[in-house]
């Protein structure tokens, strides 16, 4: 059995699964339940001067009948008094000494940061996480994403924290920026010990077409909210990779954004995360989901012969290059398995209308294929015109049958050639320009 424990910037956690700062980590009661279920850590709901919330706070994106594919909120940081939060952190820490508690903080002045860090340490928190990400409400008051969008301010505040903190300082970044490496480098420059990302993305999930008010409705009006849930995973993975692959940053990363399953978690870890944080999936299904995440990750590591989470961490990072360094001479084409093809011909219409017009519908007899599962006798079947297939993958993506369309490598005997090498070769006159596609 693989070892799931991790060491995150010096903080030991029995597993990489932490509750992300948000409604599930709002009280001692919830933290007890999270730890009973098996979570390795909890990032407490952001503590600051107690705020007042709006009524009606959450909204969601439904897709093809599936609920909460994406989720947004206009809820602010903790509306409980700081002393209550710190008292409860102490309570939980005393009962669960082997688990991680991170105090998420959001205050304004240097003195306040110093004070809240001290109170966090006194309460027994293992680390602090500076919330520089919240894209609604708090940013209007110069906090949250207003900080995260300004690298100079990040560096300053990270510096205020680092100058007093005896526990690790994690900077939580907002995705509502152009290049996430810039705030990441600022955090590093300010003395941060680690980075967590992503916070939520500015969003409007839907508009009620009767009232013309977006959701969530606060008495018939709304505001942009922070978007999260499964739908944001690709954006989060991209940003986690950007931070993890940046040689100037080189800090532990806690990955956040759309993690629902062990597989999601494994992908974040393969892209450089040491711990992963989950909020929306717990809001939808409860703390119990961690059991499956731990089991799935453990079995996966075993199946790959990996002894620990650490062995998986960053495994995919070397395979992400700039586009210009990819191999221009690599070729793949689609191959259809007629024993599996059900004759929906979705591959045909996708290629025909949406891609490169290289899947024909042909008489199955002419192709020498018999009846397949679900195909009516004689109904035309799709056939890839190999010489015109550009290997775009679209057909294999729309095909509803597992392993029916596979993308296969074409052995063309050509040597590896990057765009950069090709450009140089053409410029030096040692290489013929590749003719444009007809």
């Amino acid at each position: 059995m693989a070892d799931l424990s991790i060491n995150f910037a010096g903080v030991k956690s029995p597993n990489p699964f932490w509750i992300a700062s948000g409604p599930p980590g709002n009280s001692a009661y919830q933290c007890h339940r999270a730890f009973e279920a098996g979570w390795g850590g909890v990032v407490w709901k952001t503590i600051g001067e107690a705020i007042v919330n709006q009524s009606s706070r959450y909204s969601a994106l439904q897709l093809n009948g599936q609920r909460m594919v994406g989720f947004n909120n206009i809820e602010l940081i903790s509306d409980r008094a700081p002393e209550t939060n710190f008292k409860e952190i102490r309570e939980v820490k005393d009962r669960w000494p082997d688990r991680v508690i991170v105090a998420s903080l959001m205050v304004e002045t240097r003195e306040q940061w110093h004070e809240f860090i001290k109170r966090s340490e006194d309460a027994g928190a293992d680390a602090i996480e500076c919330n520089f990400g919240c894209p609604h409400g708090m940013c209007e008051r110069g906090m949250g994403s207003a900080v995260g969008q300004n690298p100079a301010v990040i560096e300053t505040i990270a510096g205020w924290c680092a100058e007093v903190a005896e526990i690790p300082v994690i900077i939580k970044l907002t995705p509502n920026i152009t290049d996430v490496a810039q705030p990441g480098r600022a955090a590093k420059a300010g003395g941060a010990d680690a980075i967590s990302l992503i916070n939520t993305i500015n969003s409007i999930t839907q508009v009620n077409l009767d009232t013309f008010c977006p959701e969530p409705s606060v008495g018939g009006q709304s505001s942009h909210g922070g978007y999260c849930g499964a739908a944001v995973k690709p954006i989060a993975l991209n940003m986690v990779e950007t931070i993890a692959n940046d040689p100037q940053i080189n800090l532990p990363v806690s990955g956040i954004g759309g993690i629902n399953t062990w597989r999601d978690a494994a992908e974040f870890i393969a892209l450089g995360s040491t711990s992963v944080q989950v909020c929306t999936a717990v809001m939808q299904k409860g703390f119990r989901i961690v059991a499956d995440m731990a089991e799935g990750l453990s079995d996966y590591l075993d199946s790959k012969g990996m002894q620990s989470v650490e062995e998986l961490r960053g495994r995919a990072l070397p395979n992400i290059l700039n586009w210009e360094n990819l191999n221009l001479n690599y070729a793949r084409i689609a191959q259809i398995d007629y024993d599996k093809c059900i004759g929906c011909n979705l591959c045909h219409i996708a290629c025909e209308d949406g891609a490169h017009q290289c899947i024909d519908l042909v008489d199955p007899a002419a192709l020498g294929v018999g009846e397949g599962p679900g195909r009516l006798p004689g109904k035309p079947v799709p056939k890839v015109r190999d010489e015109d297939c550009v290997g775009c993958n679209l057909c294999s993506l729309v095909c509803p049958v597992d392993h029916c369309i596979t993308m296969i490598d074409v052995e063309n005997g050509k040597e590896r050639l990057s765009w950069a090498e090709y450009q140089a070769g053409v410029e030096a006159g040692t290489m013929e320009p590749i003719p444009p596609h007809p």
Partner: protein, 471 residues
């Protein structure tokens, strides 16, 4: 006077005849609609005689455009709601579904179609477009069943006048009087008739053509005639006892269920049904549901040879109807002028009685479901030159439904010998499209999913010849 009598009280009778396939709730419908793959050149369309764009309407349900879904369905098939309930979908659209042979169930197309059209039927909202141009041409449709309804609706939509003559009290034909009650109540058929009436079709009910209204008069008054007269009386057995008061024809027995309150339908304690087609199954199942102690099918051939669909057979068995195969009726026995049993002979593999094998089964109610006769005599009285084909079917041009007499068209059971409601609608519609072309010189392309590969129907459209898949 027959000794048959009602068995179940009102509430029980209604409960027993509740529809077996309940409507989808909206979340269920959306979930099911989202399972549909939205196939390109979808085989379900090809398998539908009326060529409904099935993936198209299903995606409309998924995308919260239920009214648009109803429009897609009813534009292709004006009886889309009753077809959703009574079509043998397992051998048509659902049988052709690409998911069918995988480890999945096919999409529940019938129930989705019903879901989409139920609301329109309830609200009476008109979703089908009617041409604002009027040709002034008038077509008489004789018989008010599905073929005439399909034809009449299409005609008014294309800007022509349509008048339906029906001898019974209500139009709808077998849809109103002959579908198993637990599949569709007569009110549904009547609601569809009302929708068609709103489109502009005129109905004249209680009129017997030939008696109340001369055919010549119709020919004078109208530009064309469509014959949708269905089939005639049930076949006779020609055995002793056939005229006893407790011997009925299945069509009449089912029509009774549809014309009077369920608690007043009379039947015996031990019912036997002769024949094993789909009508026989409808009769035996309804007799059992309405309180018969036993309801038994007697069939002269083997289980494998029955013409009823497998799922109909399974349904009847699940209701504890009984089946006796390889037996032929010899005589219906009487006691004091009333049915008291039936004498049967065992049959050989050619369905011929085996000498000396006779035995008796007790029963007090005999229902004959031996198929219906054709209306040859009536037809030839009306149109002496009308060409009839094998078995008395009206001969028609398969592409236009026109008979041997120019301007006289036919469709439904009278022309196809007995098929599904959906076939009748398709034939009526086909006749209407040709009539339109005759009246205006303008051809209407039937709703067909075109392919650009030059593949002629049945590929590319289910309109001409639906693809039948084995049940």
């Amino acid at each position: 006077m027959s000794k048959l009598k009602p068995i179940l009280p009102k509430a029980k009778a209604r409960e027993a005849m509740e529809e077996i396939k309940p409507a989808f709730a909206s979340q269920e419908a959306v979930t099911e609609a989202n399972r549909c793959l939205y196939c390109y050149d979808a085989p379900c369309i090809m398998a539908c005689p009326t060529g409904i764009d099935i993936p198209g309407f299903i995606k409309k349900i998924a995308y919260d455009n239920v009214k648009g879904a109803a429009r897609t369905i009813l534009t292709a098939n004006i009886l889309g709601n009753s077809c959703a309930r009574v079509c043998p979908t397992k051998v048509l659209c659902e049988g052709a579904c690409v998911l069918e042979d995988r480890d999945h169930d096919p999409i529940d197309i019938g129930r989705l179609q019903r879901y989409a059209t139920d609301r329109v039927l309830e609200t009476g909202e008109q979703v089908v477009a009617v041409s604002p141009l009027k040709s002034g041409k008038k077509v008489a449709l004789i018989g008010g069943g599905p073929a005439s309804l399909g034809c009449a609706a299409e005609l008014v939509r294309l800007g022509h006048e349509a008048v339906v003559f029906e001898k019974k009290e209500h139009p709808g034909g077998l849809n109103t009087y002959g579908i198993a009650y637990y599949k569709m109540k007569p009110e549904i058929s009547l609601a569809e008739v009302e929708m068609i009436e709103k489109l502009g079709v005129e109905f004249r009910c209680g009129i017997e053509v030939g008696t109340d209204l001369a055919v010549d008069k119709i020919l004078q008054e109208f530009d064309a005639v469509f014959l949708g007269i269905g089939l005639g009386q049930g076949r006779r057995l020609a055995i002793p006892g056939e005229d006893l008061p407790e011997v009925a024809d299945a069509i009449d027995f089912i029509a009774e269920i549809h014309s009077q309150p369920l608690e007043t339908v009379k039947l015996g304690k031990n019912v036997v049904v002769l024949g094993c087609g789909n009508t026989a199954i409808d009769a035996v199942s309804q007799a059992k549901r309405l309180g018969a102690e036993s309801a038994t099918i007697l069939y002269r051939r083997s289980e494998e040879e029955m013409s009823a669909y497998g799922f109909e057979y399974a349904l009847a068995k699940s209701e504890r109807c009984e089946f006796m195969f390889q037996v032929a009726p010899v005589e219906i026995l009487e006691t004091n002028g009333h049915v008291s049993g039936i004498r049967l002979a065992k049959t050989d593999s050619n369905a011929q009685p085996i000498t000396g094998s006779e035995f008796t089964v007790n029963c007090d109610h005999v229902i004959k479901a031996l198929g219906q006769t054709k209306m040859e005599k009536t037809l030839l009285e009306w149109f002496p030159k009308l060409k009839l084909g094998a078995g008395g079917k009206i001969e028609v041009d398969p592409l236009t439904q026109e008979t041997s007499i120019p301007g006289v068209y036919a469709g439904g059971d009278a022309a196809n010998g007995g098929a599904e409601v959906v076939n009748a609608v398709a034939e009526g519609k086909r006749a209407a499209l040709h009539l339109h072309q005759t009246f205006t010189g303008e051809a209407v392309t039937p709703p067909a999913q075109t392919t650009r590969y030059g593949i002629e129907p049945p590929f590319g459209s289910g309109f001409y010849e639906p693809v039948r898949v084995s049940g």
